[in-house]
Amino acid sequence: MAKRKVAVIGAGMTKFMHRALETPKELAWLAARSALAASELKLKQIDCVVLGSAPDAFDGVHMKSEYLADGCGAWRKPFLRCYVGGGTGVYAVAQAWFQVASGMFDTALVVCEEKMSTCQPHPQAAFLTIFDPITEQPLKPNLLWIFALEQTRYMETYGITVEQIARVSVKNKRNALNHPAAQLGAKLTVKEVLASEIMAWPVHRLMVSPTSDGAAAIVIAAEEVARRVTDKPIWIQGVGWCLDSAYWTNRDLAYPEYVEKAAWMAYRMAGVKEPRKQINIAEPYDPFAYKELHHLEGLQLAPKGQAPKLLADGVFERNGDLPVTPSGGLLGVGNPIAAAGMMKICELYWQLRGEAAKRQVPGKPERGVAQAWGDLMQVGTVVVMGTKKPE
């Protein structure tokens, strides 16, 4: 069956905040409205709605999709919620792509929302239930553990230092200073990052993304509609996703193979054979500083263990050879889980259209990749977007 070509025709988001006055439904509405306005479509021209949102436990509202439906513009429309932990924001785009590529619908509104501040005293406690109830929960694990354990393994395997990893925080928080929706933009030095509190060695406080409230959304459309409403459609050239085993203590944590598999799925679809040459801009998932480097390797944008060196050489700066996380990422813009992945999709959309204002990377980028990650260090979700219609 021939797949139809699909393009992003509008993007929008709310500010990302530590705590928002707005309800989850209102945040979803603000992002959805702003994406719709950018696409110049009316809600009645939207054929279906896809929602991405993380565990119900954060909001304390069971079946959050039903609760959020109104804010997503899903009233009396075909509606789908998808969820793969932190990987959700990029996964939602892949799921929406199906709806349109298949020929089922001509347009889709994709909304990702998270309000983490609701959960008391801290949303961290809600994460306990992601661990196996019998073999892991009795040890009272927290989310920092798995990140710190993975970072140690990554550093140990390739001889990487904490200083090298701290540079990611410096770069991303600095990039976020130019993002008007950012929660945590800052001008920092490597020394300051390393002087911040050790949360779970080797993870320092300034290497961890914040908890956030916020929402982000895009509108996608089949070629025929996209051509009619904009002269600058940004094509979804490839989508990919992959889940590894939940037996995370049985795997080598130094390299995210599932990200590699997801990336090649998306690259093959996009006709990308040499990612390092054919990708102009990358928005890998950066909930923790080392994760950006880890993911760049999984995305085939750096050889194994070499991402820290490329970062130190300036390759990943906004004006570098391969700008990485020009948005400011989760470390700088904020991390309302599903909405954070979608923020990366929005960033690619704005960058590829040349509309990223102070964040604009030079050289008219033609193709970018966004990636998110989640669950028990086991899911990779990837979307390749570009200015050229895929073949």
């Binding site: 709310t14 801290h122 009795p138 927290n142 920092l144 354990l149 779970a200 993870v203």
Partner: protein, 171 residues
């Protein structure tokens, strides 16, 4: 192009007591059934032993044990006792509890590769009785069991893992 992003950030201090909120403490309780593999695993823990399952398809000796091999997607074949010693694959010194209280002495979670299981087949547990700064990847460790009367068929029947002293023969 979006000129102004929507949303109303609340300042922690200024908004305190000024925003209407409501709160609710869920009272949820669960009873998780162990299943066959983990049931035997817990029973053996109570006896002070670690047990794994072997898959004849991929020849892996897997811990925690499972009744089906997720790679071969076939039933696993046999029970295999493994040692209560291992080496640290990775670890952290964690200064934050699960409910975000700050800790003066760090907890040391680790993934421990179990001797007798397939290479790099690890379980999550805690390291104690060692100065935090001396913990290393690759360090040999052994399980310290609770007294038999205190065991209840739980992963916490192993109180913690400690370094094997260099003068000792591995068990």
């Amino acid at each position: 192009m979006i000129q102004k992003f929507a949303g109303t950030p609340l300042d922690k201090q200024k908004s305190h007591g000024k925003i209407f909120t409501t709160s609710y403490e869920p009272k949820l309780s669960y009873r998780w059934d162990s299943g066959e593999a983990i049931g035997r695993y817990l029973e053996e823990l109570k006896q002070g032993r670690l047990i794994a399952r072997r898959c004849d398809g991929c020849q892996r000796v897997m811990i925690p044990p499972r009744m089906f091999c997720e790679r071969c997607f076939r039933p696993t074949d046999d029970w295999v006792y493994v040692n209560d010693t291992g080496r640290i694959l990775t670890f952290s010194l964690c200064y934050v509890s699960w409910d975000v209280r700050r800790l003066k002495q760090p907890e040391i979670p680790a993934v421990i590769a179990i001797d007798g299981a397939s290479p790099d087949m690890g379980i999550l547990h805690l390291i104690k009785k060692v100065p935090p700064k001396q913990v290393r990847v690759g360090m040999a460790v052994r399980a310290v069991w609770r007294a038999p009367s205190k065991r209840r068929g739980s992963v916490t029947d192993i109180a913690y893992w400690e370094p094997v002293k260099q003068t000792e023969e591995p068990r």
